[in-house]
């Protein structure tokens, strides 16, 4: 049974600027059980791993950029330089409790393969991504006639690392064809607040700027 969660968002951690004040990271971290073994794929500068380790989680990371890796290792985090598209195959089955892909899905060459690897390596996968179905994006394409440009998608089309955008609706379709079970879903609106529960999916797809899904394997 899918639960769409709505804790009170104004979590004190966001107020204190934990995880750089990025609410999506706190939403992700809230889905992880204490003491769990976690692999963060595309861990960037390691802010999520730091937040998780402060909560007693055994965290590991993979990061593509050399600068990101070096920053993480210098922080004492266990992070390897690697590529979500090519390096996940070297991890054994069931090595982790949670495998996280935070704001990275749209930058992978083969999102479906990556998702399948995540659920092979981990019991649960947590995927967060910018929702390409958000109304601002739709407006920019429809009326502006150009590729969208927003605060969380700041790149020009010719230099963006993001090559596989999807909407919340698209992602649900991928889960369906991949045999993935959606355990929890959270959408964040343009102000970074969690959207109210009980809204229909089309509403989330239109007004959710970011989405976070907790996934597991279908039995």
């Amino acid at each position: 049974m899918l639960t769409r969660v709505n804790h009170d968002l104004s979590s004190s951690e966001a107020a204190r600027g934990v995880a750089g004040g990025r609410v999506d990271l706190i939403v992700v971290a809230d889905m992880v059980e204490r003491g769990a073994r976690v692999l963060d794929v595309g861990c960037g500068d390691g802010e999520l791993l730091r937040l998780l380790e402060s909560r007693g989680v055994d965290g590991r990371g993979i990061e593509l950029s050399r600068e990101g890796v070096n920053e993480c290792v210098a922080k004492g985090l266990a992070v390897v330089q690697g590529d979500a598209d090519t390096d996940l195959e070297y991890y054994p089955n069931d090595a982790f409790d949670f495998v996280i892909l935070s704001q990275t899905l749209q930058a992978t060459r083969q999102p479906r393969v990556v998702l399948e690897h995540m659920l092979r390596i981990g019991r649960y996968a947590i995927v967060s991504f910018p929702n390409f179905g958000h109304w601002k994006i739709r407006l920019q394409i429809f009326f502006g006639g150009h590729m969208p440009h927003t605060d969380i998608l700041p790149y020009a089309w010719y230099e963006t690392p993001n090559i596989h955008f999807c909407s919340i609706k698209d992602f649900r379709a991928l889960c369906a064809v991949s045999g993935v079970k959606m355990e929890q879903a959270v959408a964040l609106n343009a102000w970074g607040y969690r959207m109210r529960l009980k809204m229909p999916w089309w509403f989330w797809n239109l007004f959710g700027e970011q989405a976070v899904f907790l996934l597991s394997r279908k039995r």
Binding site: A74, G76, Y90, P92
Partner: protein, 396 residues
């Protein structure tokens, strides 16, 4: 190449091999080292240096493993060359391997020529250096000898083991052989096995030594001879592999050495030739030719997977050690792909591993040089490990 000081060099080097300017432990005849070759080596002596202070809990010891032509003189003046230590950028007060926090130990490897038992040591049965009668040793034998040293020092568990190149091989062997004794491991510019190309380079070096008539089937000490030319050529060839095309070009280009035009002879017209000759000459002043044969052989034999059913990951299953694997972009002797193979094996074994590739044009030798990004990573990794180990924070 200078010949005048040949005998003096030999006498100095023999003395350094038997009675080194170092701390020294001699193991009694009833404590032999059982070698991979199936021989019990005795008597065994290990020369080593220490820096910093061992804490009351004996939990802050860092073992530094040196590379092929390195030695135990990590941060002190070298007794033969008078030059500074080989890792002063990394080890010392306030350095990433901080001697104000950690007790740093470095031992001359088994088979070396700076005071640990090796082919230049005196064979008690003959009163002359062992030469080729010394048994062929392996990286695992080196690590076993270091473990005997730690037992002697009363250090049950190391906070960290760190080393580059052949030192990195020892680090991997330490983590595989004694996982409970290694809290953190830093294999730098290393590999789980020596590649065919690297064995090939070593063979060229060994053939250069053995082709020198002064080598005399390894019995040059007895004849008062020294295969300087052969060893210098071996060093020149090897030195090229430690650098990179870009670094050589940046340092020397096609520039002439103290002349404006080619001499139409085989003098060292080019700066790069002059540099290599210098590297060769200075090397033979401090290094033993037979030691060079034995240590290159030990590296050639290194293949961690061979001891674990052909699967490197099996060497690290269930390991409690945390790893930091580091490679350098321009290193073509131990390229990044080798470090990635280590990382994949550690991932498959579920180990806690960090891995970074440092951008530099300085080739394999970058691990010996001042590379700020490299230093920051070693420092950060050790800080994190020290917190996990409960060692006190660095003084600010």
């Amino acid at each position: 190449m200078a010949e005048a000081s040949a005998t003096l060099d030999l006498a100095d080097r023999r003395r350094e091999a038997d009675q080194p300017h170092s701390l020294l432990v001699r193991f009694a005849p009833h404590e032999p080292l059982r070698l991979d070759a199936g021989i019990d080596l005795s008597p065994l002596q290990i020369a080593y240096q220490t820096y910093g202070t061992l804490n009351a809990e004996r939990s802050n010891a860092v073992l530094v493993c040196h590379a092929l032509t390195g030695d135990q003189h990590v941060v002190n003046t070298h007794p033969l060359t008078g030059k500074g230590g080989w890792w002063e950028t990394m080890v010392g007060p306030g350095r990433p391997i901080d001697t104000e926090r950690y007790f740093v130990i470095c031992a001359n490897v088994l088979g070396g020529c700076m005071g640990s038992s090796g082919p230049a040591s005196t064979n008690p049965d003959t009163g002359m250096p062992w030469g080729l009668d010394f048994p062929v040793i392996t990286v695992r034998d080196m690590v076993r000898a270091q473990a005997m040293l730690l037992d002697y020092l009363g250090i049950e568990s190391l906070f960290a083991v760190a080393g580059g190149s052949m030192g990195g091989m020892q680090v991997l062997q330490w983590a595989a052989s004694y996982p409970q004794r290694v809290f953190a491991a830093l294999p730098i510019a290393a590999a789980t096995r020596h590649s065919a190309q690297n064995i090939a380079f070593h063979e060229v070096g060994r053939q250069a030594v053995m082709a020198d008539p002064e080598w005399r089937q390894g019995r040059y000490f007895a004849a008062g001879a020294n295969p300087r030319r052969g060893l210098a050529v071996a060093r020149m060839g090897a030195h090229i592999t430690y650098l990179s095309d870009a670094a050589l070009h940046r340092k020397f280009g096609r520039r002439f050495q103290d002349r404006d035009n080619p001499t139409f002879s085989f003098d060292a017209d080019f700066q790069v030739e002059s540099y290599l000759r210098h590297q060769g000459i200075t090397f033979v002043e401090r290094f033993d030719a037979n030691s060079y044969l034995y240590l290159t052989r030990a590296m050639d034999y290194f293949d961690l997977a061979a001891d674990y059913d052909g699967v490197v990951a099996n060497a690290f299953r269930g390991t409690p050690t945390r790893f930091c694997v580091i490679s350098f972009t321009s290193d073509w002797l131990f390229p990044t792909v080798e470090s990635r193979a280590i990382v994949h094996a550690l991932n498959a074994a579920g180990a806690r591993v960090s891995f970074a590739e440092i951008t530099t044009d300085k080739g394999h030798d970058a691990f010996l040089l001042d590379e700020p990004e490299f230093s920051a990573i070693v420092r950060g990794f050790l800080e994190g490990a020290a917190r996990a180990r409960g060692l006190p924070a660095a003084r600010r």
